[in-house]
């Protein structure tokens, strides 16, 4: 046994450095090559091609593609009410959506870390909507808003349920918020539960002995201790809300009269309904820049928290 090991070591030493280099190169290629190849081909090349196309009049049909400078960008920023509307809708939706879903997610987590007998099954119930993709969810809720709500309205006489939920500017906005919250609150609940479970029990016990009220405990002890989870949940929700597409497409299709059209849906329509692909890629570049800014703020916020802890 020792002999073979020594022999191997000897062979290892006598191997020329050229051979070793070659085998390292092969190893690098085998391990990193496939992922890098697909990533370059699917993400990096199309991304830069898109930046190039955003300065052209590309329409997807004609072979002639002309460089038109920043014309697409000036058009979007000055002459495109659809993009402006989509942008403001997305911003409003993101702000309202993330606040409501985080509040509900936290409250559910807080209640479901109490010693309730049914808490495991309830966690399952609240989390389940998240399994269903946005497209099917949107269709399911289309039925709920059109038929289900009116049935509830007839039974109870509450006028809230008799509104034309998806047919009106204001209510369709809240309709999408409702479905978004129904879909995402359970996911955030899971993250909040794991954060709440990590709070040391003695901290809470001593607070109770000192006579702190329930609200004081939440505000002054629990919230500061779960701040990392709050950051994660806020930015997860921002990312979902800001990039919303499937849910929007299936529930309202951006209607009525583009009142609920998200930026992602506007880019899609610009490209595939209006066939202005150059303009669509320019919108996509702007979209990317905004997402990148939000994400870099997120990374910075998360990092500074880590230092504090």
């Amino acid at each position: 046994m020792n002999d073979t090991r020594a022999a191997q070591a000897a062979r290892h030493v006598t191997r020329t450095s050229g051979q070793r280099k070659l085998s390292q190169w092969i190893q690098q290629l085998v391990f990193v090559g496939p992922a890098t190849f697909f990533f370059l081909f699917i993400v990096i090349v199309p991304f830069f091609l898109g930046v190039y196309y955003s300065f052209t009049d590309w329409n997807g049909i004609s072979r002639q593609i002309n460089w038109i400078g920043i014309e697409n960008y000036t058009h979007i920023l000055t002459k495109d009410p659809d993009f402006r509307n989509a942008f403001w809708f997305t911003v409003r939706f993101t702000i309202v959506g993330i606040i409501v879903t985080n509040l509900l997610g936290f409250v559910l987590a807080y209640l479901l870390t109490k010693p309730l007998r049914t808490r495991n099954i309830l966690r399952t119930v609240f989390f389940m909507p998240n399994m269903i993709g946005g497209l099917l969810l949107g269709f399911i809720w289309q039925f709920i808003f059109i038929r289900g709500f009116s049935a509830v309205g007839e039974a109870t006489g509450w006028s809230l349920f008799n509104l034309p939920w998806l047919g009106d500017r204001a209510t369709s906005f809240w309709g999408i918020v409702i479905v978004f919250v129904w879909q995402t609150a359970g996911y955030l609940m899971v993250i909040y539960i794991s954060a709440l479970n990590n709070i040391p029990k003695d901290v809470l016990e001593s607070a109770e002995i000192d006579g702190a009220s329930r609200w004081q405990v939440i505000r002054n002890i629990i919230l500061p201790l779960i701040m990392p989870a709050v950051t994660i949940c806020l930015f997860l929700a921002i990312s979902w809300a800001f990039k919303m597409f499937d849910l929007n497409l299936a529930l309202t299709g951006g209607g009525p009269f583009k009142a609920t059209e998200s930026v992602a849906l506007d880019i899609y329509n610009e490209a595939f309904t209006n066939n202005r692909l150059g303009l669509g890629t320019a919108k996509a570049v702007i979209f990317f820049v905004i997402v990148a800014i939000i994400t870099s703020i997120q990374v910075r916020a998360t990092k500074s928290r880590e230092v504090e802890m």
Binding site: F38, L135, D246, A250, F287
Partner: protein
């Protein structure tokens, strides 16, 4: 985190409130399921009540109309193949980048992580153009390749964080015993990475199984449709035909709900691990 562990009257009231809230969360499922077995007239006249008669034939028709077996098979193939290839190529890439942190690998890792910021809308139009140039459109292979490229950054990021915590001593011992690099990876490191394999597969499954936009742009033939695509095109044809649409939706959500109920523990763990690191 709970302080009082006794089950007081207060807790009972709390429990009732949360159960009521849970029922509110379940109401959409109630509406969906009871109306899926009604006649069209019954749906319109009383959406909230119990069906006057159960029309199971709705399901037979919806099953045929969306060609459920084919859509299910396509979704399953795309998800399983993409999942397996993604964990293979990402774990290998992450392993190499951690164990051989050359300047090139550090820059490459940075590019992978930075690319997580890119939203799908920013690459979709040129990607479709390239897919048709290279004849990858309207094929399962093209769709799977797209998932490999677009899914690689997050998967590599998760594996990278995990491999960093795998002790080097185990690998060194294996090297001394004569295993080559590939043997070390597949026989020693892979089994250690099992928990992260599960996490990555679950996160990617939820994304790929439910994804609508990419397959809708990639696949045009009806026989290649995945469940979301089949559902969408079905809705286009049968707008407001709820007696057909609702059973189709129930069929569409059943596989992923079953997946969830069976693997709930792992899914919750995977989401917690994935989000804390993501």
């Amino acid at each position: 985190m709970d302080v009082q562990s006794k089950y007081s009257a207060r807790t009972l009231i709390l429990e009732i409130v949360v159960i009521l809230l849970g029922l509110v969360f379940l109401i959409p499922f109630y509406f969906l399921i009871i109306n899926s077995v009604k006649t069209f007239g019954d749906i319109l006249s009383n959406s909230a009540s119990w069906p006057q008669q159960f029309v199971w034939s709705n399901y037979v028709e919806a099953w045929k109309a969306i060609d459920f077996p084919s859509a299910f098979k396509n979704s399953l193939i795309v998800t399983v193949v993409s999942d397996l290839l993604l964990v293979l190529i990402s774990s290998m890439a992450a392993y190499q980048m951690v164990r051989h942190p050359s300047r090139f690998n550090r820059i490459l890792y940075f590019v992978f992580v930075a690319a997580m910021v890119i939203p799908f809308q920013s690459i979709m139009l040129p990607l479709m153009e390239m897919a048709s140039t290279y004849r990858l459109n309207n094929s399962m292979i093209g769709l799977i390749i797209s998932y490999l490229g677009f899914g690689a950054p997050l998967s590599i990021f998760l594996f990278h964080g995990f491999v960093k915590n795998v002790p080097l001593e185990i690998e060194q011992a294996a090297r001394v015993d004569g295993s080559n690099r590939y043997g070390v990876f597949f026989r020693i490191v892979c089994p250690l990475m099992m928990p992260m394999f599960v996490t990555v597969i679950i996160l990617n499954t939820l994304w790929i199984w439910n994804d609508y936009l990419l397959p809708s742009l990639m696949l045009s033939s009806p026989e290649l449709r995945t469940i979301p695509i089949a559902t969408y095109s079905f809705f286009g044809q049968y707008t407001k035909q709820w007696d057909m649409a609702l059973p189709a939706l129930v069929l569409g959500i059943t596989p992923i709900i079953i997946f969830f109920l069976f693997l709930q523990r792992y899914i919750i763990q995977g989401i917690t691990a994935g989000s804390v690191k993501g």
